[in-house]
Symmetry: C2
Subunit: 328 residues, 2 copies
């Protein structure tokens, strides 16, 4: 018997989650049985438990969009994985559990020496950052990318992946104490989300034509990014922390040819072929192995302390991510 978190109705996470047990089935043909080692609490997990996400699972459901696991046993016909291998869980697996039996072909194998907690956070934020940097505009080394919410999990990945690709990042944050921290992480410029700082963007980028801005806030913050983009630039929205709709002055569209798009990792996983996924994870695993793609961790919790874990994950101004660290 192994432990698993479930919610049978949507609502406040600490209230609706329950710790249950189940027996993990033996692997069938093409399957492996996994022991889950660690899984983060992501904002989308919280939103889904609250019933406020774009795609809701049928209930009861187990939360957790990503996690890292160890192969315990392999069923007949599995040649790509062996007991002891480390893997990233597939989309939709529900990672807030101790054990899982699933198809081997959906798993991404990772190096044995990768930090377990960092590996557990490799399937959601890093590909979101990498794909937003590559799918909307052809950026060349030396080009700039703007982003707000730069201290978020995705924001920190954008800084590090941009740096590794020779791109410059101009980052917008709300708290001044984050400026030295993000500069140390590799941001080329960090400014505060207020009018006078936003007006300095052209100066901070040396007058470069900025063609890509990444928005996880919405409202006035997004409009500020749009104003700083060069003609023909693209504003990509992947979050809405302010809960305010995007306001786009008509002139930005008509006269400045602003392109407004959205990114949702779930859609990418639904549409991407194995050939498209491969290079994305190869690049991210290589960066993580080299220690060039790290996310700070504030705390880890055992599954049984789920109420404390989700409460802490919903606090603003954390110093890092909250993860479940299974006892196994």
């Amino acid at each position: 018997m192994s432990r698993i978190l479930r919610y049978h109705s949507t609502g406040r996470p600490a209230d609706v989650l329950t710790l249950e047990t189940e027996s993990a089935p033996d692997p069938a043909v093409g399957e492996v049985r996994l022991t889950v080692l660690a899984a983060p609490v992501n904002p989308a997990d919280i939103n889904q438990i609250e019933g406020k996400y774009g795609k809701q699972p049928s209930l009861p459901a187990t939360p957790g969009a990503e996690g890292v696991a160890r192969v315990e046993s392999a069923g007949p016909g599995v040649s790509t994985l062996s007991p002891g291998d480390l893997v990233l869980l597939p989309p939709g697996a529900g990672s807030w559990r101790e054990s899982l039996t699933t198809a081997a072909q959906d798993l991404v194998r990772i190096p044995a020496d990768l930090d377990i907690l960092q590996a557990a956070m490799l399937r959601v934020n890093p590909p979101t950052a990498l794909l937003m940097l590559t799918q909307y505009t052809d950026l060349n080394a030396g080009d700039w990318v703007l982003q707000n919410a730069a201290n978020s999990g995705v924001g920190r990945c954008v800084i590090q992946i941009a740096k590794a690709r020779g791109l410059h990042s101009l980052c917008v944050v709300r708290r001044p104490e984050l400026i030295p921290e993000l500069e140390a992480l590799g941001a080329d410029a960090v400014i505060l989300d207020r009018r006078e700082d936003m007006a300095s963007i052209r100066e901070r980028t040396g007058g470069a034509k900025v063609r890509l801005a990444l928005n996880a806030v919405g409202g006035d913050s997004a409009t500020g990014l749009a104003a700083a983009l060069a003609p023909g630039g693209t504003l990509v929205t992947y979050g809405a922390m302010s809960k305010q709709a995007l306001k786009v002055p008509n002139g930005f569209l008509i006269f400045k040819d602003l392109r407004v798009r959205g990114f949702w990792l779930t859609r990418w996983f639904e549409n991407a072929t194995v050939e498209e996924r491969g290079p994305v994870f190869d690049e991210l695993i290589a960066l993580a192995s080299a220690g060039r793609l790290t996310v700070p961790v504030e705390n880890t919790w055992p599954l049984g302390e789920f109420a404390a874990a989700v409460d802490q994950a919903q606090r603003e101004a954390r110093s890092g991510k909250i993860l479940f660290r299974m006892s196994a």
Copy 2:
């Protein structure tokens, strides 16, 4: 000596326009001398005189983004045009004048039997409509396009060009008396810009996945179009009659993959090659010659009555366009 309208400062059109005279120079190598026959008063002309347009000319300036003219004489080296030929004026010529000497290569020759007033309106609204229908999504016969401000000059072109291309148009208007008129013009469905009608779009299109919406209003009207688009659909803004910014719920971008773009004909003319312009005007001239692309005319005025002309052009609820009809 010929007459020409100019403004030396921006402001209320009837106040700042002045009727002046100039001598039309003889055509140099590669040039022709033209007698302007007719030119419409377009909203962008008014906005430019008011100083409220995205691209303002240096002053003094002559308004008029389009018009039709007759070739009077050709300079040395002109083989493509002869005296008596009818042509469309080039972008930026300033059509509110009686005479113009300009490069022959910038002119689009049109058939002699084309209606003069219809020809005068062929260079701005019809290509705007055609390019918006073709440049953002690949629509196939039977597909739907949504549009608001469907009674505008562009809107009426969208209806007629869509019909000629086998596309269905669902049109949003503010005044119920326009419904039978636009249906007679070829619109497949016409609804009012209010919540209950907007909610009926799916029903009116037979549940079709609508992938293109054209917006000249902004504000809530644009949000209504965005809500009716299918996942992955594109909202193209080319006007802002409500003077309200576009409001885009973040979920439309993230979860529905809405693409928000803008269209500005001036940018297209700046970037399009001769090879790209040719087929566009061929298609429009063929439609106009066949009587399948017509715009209603409310009134024509001589150049000298410019104050009455621009005042009438700024009235809402007109029955058609206002044009200058030069005496020549």
